[in-house]
């Protein structure tokens, strides 16, 4: 999707908002499916964000410096009998961008956002 420079898409607002809510509950880092669940719960929808949409948006946010990610130690996943997770966290720039999006962060996922925010890619946690 093409968009103006510095404008957060609704899915990006939802991701940053979900990430910060997870942080407030003590989860500093989160993985993709966890995010999809958070967004689904917030929006009250049973169908979670599509794979392609979610991971494409996560990639955009990371490139813009609003998220950062790392792959968890493969031994942890192996010990629990599951694939390893890619863990994300919202950066300071991401939190700032969401704050500047203001009340739009509380709109449903499909709602237009149209607020301009500064995509400052300082990458700071």
């Amino acid at each position: 999707m093409r968009r103006k420079e510095g404008v957060l898409l609704p899915i990006e607002v939802s991701i940053l908002d979900a990430g910060l809510r997870a942080r407030r509950r003590g989860a500093e880092e989160f993985h993709g499916f966890q995010l999809a669940q958070e967004i689904g719960e917030r929006d009250g929808t049973r169908t979670l964000t599509a794979h392609g949409t979610l991971y494409k948006a996560l990639g955009r946010l990371e490139t813009a410096g609003l998220l950062e990610s790392r792959w968890e130690d493969p031994n942890i996943g192996a010990a629990e009998g599951r694939p390893r997770r890619r863990l994300y966290r919202v950066t300071l720039a991401g939190a700032r961008a969401l704050a500047e999006a203001g009340s739009a962060a509380h709109a449903p996922t499909g709602a237009p956002v149209g607020r301009r925010v500064a995509l400052v890619g300082d990458g700071a946690p």
């Binding site: 999707m1 993985h31 993709g32 499916f33 966890q34 999809a36 669940q37 049973r46 169908t47 979670l48 964000t49 599509a50 794979h51 392609g52 949409t53 979610l54 991971y55 494409k56 990639g59 792959w71 996943g77 599951r82 694939p83 390893r84 997770r85 890619r86």
Partner: protein, 213 residues
């Protein structure tokens, strides 16, 4: 691993094929993790296999356009960062009229055969059933399949310019889908598979020649 996990995994392997190894492996690993987590969450919630399949299938289906866009972006980016010969190969090969010629013929041939198949198949069906009005194309599910199939063919046609493999798959799938409710199912499918395979081979060969030239 459940059937839907295997199916989505196959789709991920398909659309990440030929990408930069880092992009490819990371996307595959990330989706594998997501599928695993989602399946276990649905099991924990007590959903049966069908409900779980529908939930995961919906996420897969709705994300297909973004998957394809993501692939296009990754390829464009890796070409931009790639070595000069590689870039020359892409520019001189897959973007040229020579390479495009056969995939265009593939798409047109598949569309023509699918149209003939759909029309003939429906006429036969209506004649044999003796229920001409109630078996109208507009009243049946076949209309949805036809429209969806042709949409896939058009998308495949568009993608063939830069991604002959993905484009050919969509053309083949579209031709099969468009004619799935008719007696002509096998004809456009076989034609599309054979000609697409030949077209992709030819496109790659010409691109290879451009690289070595």
């Amino acid at each position: 691993m459940t059937t839907i996990e295997q199916f989505v995994g196959a789709w991920v392997r398909l659309y990440t094929a030929g990408l930069d190894p880092v992009d490819r492996d990371e996307r595959r690993a990330e989706i594998a993790s997501d599928l695993w987590e989602h399946t276990r969450a649905l099991e924990a919630a007590g959903d049966n296999r069908i409900a779980a399949g529908v939930a995961i299938g919906a996420r897969w289906l709705l994300g297909i356009p973004d998957d394809l866009v993501w692939r296009t972006e990754r390829r464009r980016e890796s070409r931009g960062q790639g070595a000069e010969p590689e870039r020359r190969s892409s520019m001189a090969g897959f973007g040229s009229a020579r390479v495009l010629a056969l995939p265009v013929i593939v798409a047109v041939a598949a569309v023509v055969v699918a149209v003939v198949g759909v029309v003939v198949g429906n006429i036969q069906y209506v004649e044999q059933s003796e229920r001409i009005v109630s078996n109208s194309v507009l009243e049946s599910l076949s209309m949805v399949l036809i429209v969806g199939g042709f949409a896939a063919i058009v998308l495949g046609f568009v993608l063939m310019r830069r991604q002959p493999g993905v484009g050919a798959v969509l053309v083949v799938g579209g031709a099969a889908t468009a004619s799935i409710s008719t007696y002509w199912l096998i004809v456009p499918l076989v034609l599309a598979v054979v000609v697409s395979w030949y077209g992709v081979r030819r496109a790659r060969r010409i691109a290879g020649e451009a690289t070595t030239a």
